[in-house]
Structure formats: structure tokens, C-alpha cells
């Protein structure tokens, strides 16, 4: 099966299970955050993608990481993907899952990276600002990423609105 079809199938499976369990928004949010953690940690990614490692050991790692921090459904779905040997496609599956869920709500996902966590008021105002800027109904997913140093980077589909200090320093470096 082609990779894109496989990712689509897994994403749909996650969406159906989350919807049936009645925790779609929470599962979506928890898996999205876990996917970002997974992306940013090479050691974790290599361990979970290592098919030579027994599946129960890989699942144990997922359970240890999510454990009490996430819903049982979120942990079960992450364990399912990892134990199926698709950990190397985990981020893509989760991203597609979040896109499908947002599309059902007629929303677009705005991946927002900030050096510090945003409070609810900031997230609401940011959503409204992004709605006006993109003329879409966006759902904000905040990722705390110290590498942006300061400010915010928002990615909605192919649109990137970069107001980070890191981006300004990069521009300054190019100008110099």
C-alpha cells in the first residue's frame, strides 16, 4: 500500500476510535502534543521506530511517557500505531488525524509555536487574528518550542506567519 494511503487509513482509524470514545478534542490535542515531542526527540524516535525491539517494550515506552498525563484512549491509540511498526510515520498519521478532525468541524489547524505557553485569552485572540488573516476558521494547536526564542510562528497549511525572534535573527544574519 502506498505510504499516503496507509497514513490516511491509520488517521481515519484514529479519528473513528476517538469519536466513538467521545473524547475527540482531547485525544486530538494529546496526540498532537505527543507527536511534536516524538518529532523533537531523536532518541525516542529511533527507539520507537526500531522494529528489532519487541512491540511490548515499545508500547511500554509509550505508556511510560503518556501514562497519567493522557486519556486511556490517547495512550491506546499511540500504542496501537507504535506496536504496528508505524512509529516512523507517527507524526504524519497524527497530523492527518488532526486535519481530518478539524475538517469535520470545518476548521483549519494552526500549528502555533511559542517559547512560552499561551494562556486561554491569548489563544482566543490569536485564533481570531489568524481567522481574519487567513479568512479561515482555524483551530490553534500550541507547541512550546524554546528554539523560537521569542514571539510566535503560526503554520496553517502552506501558510507560515513567522514573528519569532529566531526568524528575525536569521533575517539579520542573511542581511549581514
Amino acid at each position: 500500500m502506498p505510504e499516503s494511503s496507509r497514513i490516511e487509513a491509520y488517521a481515519n482509524a484514529l479519528l473513528e476510535v476517538a469519536r466513538v470514545e467521545g473524547h475527540l478534542a482531547e485525544v486530538e490535542d494529546e496526540l498532537f502534543r505527543f507527536a511534536r515531542t516524538f518529532e523533537g526527540n531523536d532518541e525516542l524516535r529511533m527507539a520507537l521506530s526500531d522494529r528489532a525491539l519487541p512491540a511490548d517494550r515499545r508500547v511500554a515506552v509509550v505508556e511510560e511517557l503518556l501514562g497519567e498525563k493522557a486519556l486511556q484512549t490517547s495512550m491506546a491509540l499511540a500504542s496501537f500505531v507504535v506496536s504496528s511498526g508505524r512509529a516512523d510515520e507517527f507524526s504524519q498519521i497524527v497530523d492527518r488525524f488532526v486535519e481530518l478532525a478539524a475538517a469535520e468541524r470545518k476548521q483549519a489547524i494552526a500549528e502555533v509555536r511559542s517559547a512560552i505557553p499561551l494562556d486561554a485569552g491569548q489563544i482566543d485572540r490569536l485564533r481570531e487574528a489568524l481567522n481574519r488573516a487567513t479568512d479561515k476558521n482555524v483551530e490553534v494547536k500550541v507547541i512550546v518550542d524554546p528554539s523560537v526564542m521569542g514571539g510566535i510562528v503560526a503554520t496553517i497549511g502552506d501558510i507560515v506567519i513567522d514573528g519569532s525572534v529566531r526568524h528575525r535573527l536569521e533575517q539579520l544574519k542573511e542581511q549581514i
Partner: protein, 180 residues
């Protein structure tokens, strides 16, 4: 002549009377007659042959002398030819040597010109290499200075980005995105 002989005989007899070893007057007469006859016969028969022999010898010697003179002249001519050829050969050799010297000089000048060209080209290339290396070094230095400046700026920014500044940056971003 006979009178002379008689007088001679008379004188001999006069002397004979005085010298016992002298012949008789008749003996002297007949001896003289025989001498004259023999002399006449020699002058008549032998002298032309002797004269012819002498003439032939003289002619042969003259011929030999002429031949010798001719040979000498020929030898002198050959010698002159030889000298002329030698002079020509020397002149030709000198010409060849001069031509070879001129060729060698020409080749030397050409080689010097070529080497001068090569040296000039090498110098130009070296100068260009130095210029490019200098430009590269300056560019690398500029890049390095830029990178160091940015790294320094990052550290300064990191230390100065307190929570209030972070909040201000986020608020500014939201306001700017919302206004666009």
C-alpha cells in the same frame, strides 16, 4: 798544313837529335796523316750521329722541361684552385657558422620571449589567485564575523528575553496578525 807537319817533323828531328825518346819524323808524319783521316772520318760519319743524338737529347730535355713547366703551371693552377676552394669552403663554413649562430640566437630570443610570456602569465595568474584568495578570505571573515555577531546577539537576546518581554512579543504578534 803539310808544311806545318814537315816543319814539326824537322823540329822533332832537331829535338830528337837532342832527346832519344822522341819518335822518328816519318812516324810522326804518318801518324798525323792517320789522325787526320780518322778525324775526317769521325767528322764525316760520327759527328752527325753524335750531333743528332745531342739534338735529340736536347729536344727531350727541352720537352721534359716544357712538360715540367706545364706540370708546374698545372700544379700551380691546381694549388690556386685548391686555395680558392679552401677559401670558398672557409667562407662557406663561416657562413654556415654565422647562419647557425643567427638561428641559435633567434631560437634563444624566441625562447626568452616565450619564457617572458609564460612568466608574465604565471605572475598574472598568481596575482589573480592572490586576489581571489584575499576576496575569499575577506568573504569568509565577513561571514564568520556575521555568524559570531548573530551568535552573540542570540545570547544577548536570550538573556534579555524575560517573561514580560515574551508576553509583549506575543501580544505584538497577535495585534499585527489581527490588523493584517
Amino acid at each position: 798544313m803539310l808544311g806545318t807537319l814537315l816543319l814539326a817533323a824537322k823540329a822533332v828531328e832537331d829535338v830528337k837529335a837532342k832527346n832519344p825518346i822522341l819518335p822518328e819524323g816519318k812516324e810522326i808524319l804518318w801518324a798525323s796523316i792517320a789522325f787526320v783521316i780518322v778525324l775526317s772520318l769521325l767528322a764525316w760519319k760520327a759527328w752527325p750521329a753524335v750531333k743528332a743524338g745531342l739534338k735529340a737529347r736536347q729536344d727531350r730535355i727541352a720537352g721534359d722541361l716544357a712538360k715540367a713547366e706545364e706540370a708546374r703551371v698545372e700544379a700551380e693552377s691546381s694549388l690556386e684552385d685548391y686555395r680558392r676552394q679552401l677559401a670558398d669552403a672557409r667562407t662557406e663554413a663561416a657562413g654556415i657558422i654565422e647562419a647557425a649562430r643567427q638561428d641559435a640566437e633567434h631560437v634563444r630570443q624566441e625562447r626568452i620571449a616565450a619564457i617572458d610570456g609564460e612568466i608574465a602569465e604565471l605572475r598574472a595568474r598568481a596575482a589573480e589567485d592572490i586576489r581571489l584568495a584575499t576576496e575569499r578570505a575577506m568573504s569568509d571573515l565577513s561571514t564568520r564575523v556575521a555568524v559570531l555577531s548573530i551568535e552573540l546577539a542570540e545570547k544577548v537576546v536570550e538573556h534579555n528575553l524575560d517573561h514580560d518581554t515574551q508576553i509583549a512579543l506575543i501580544e505584538n504578534y497577535i495585534n499585527q496578525v489581527g490588523s493584517n
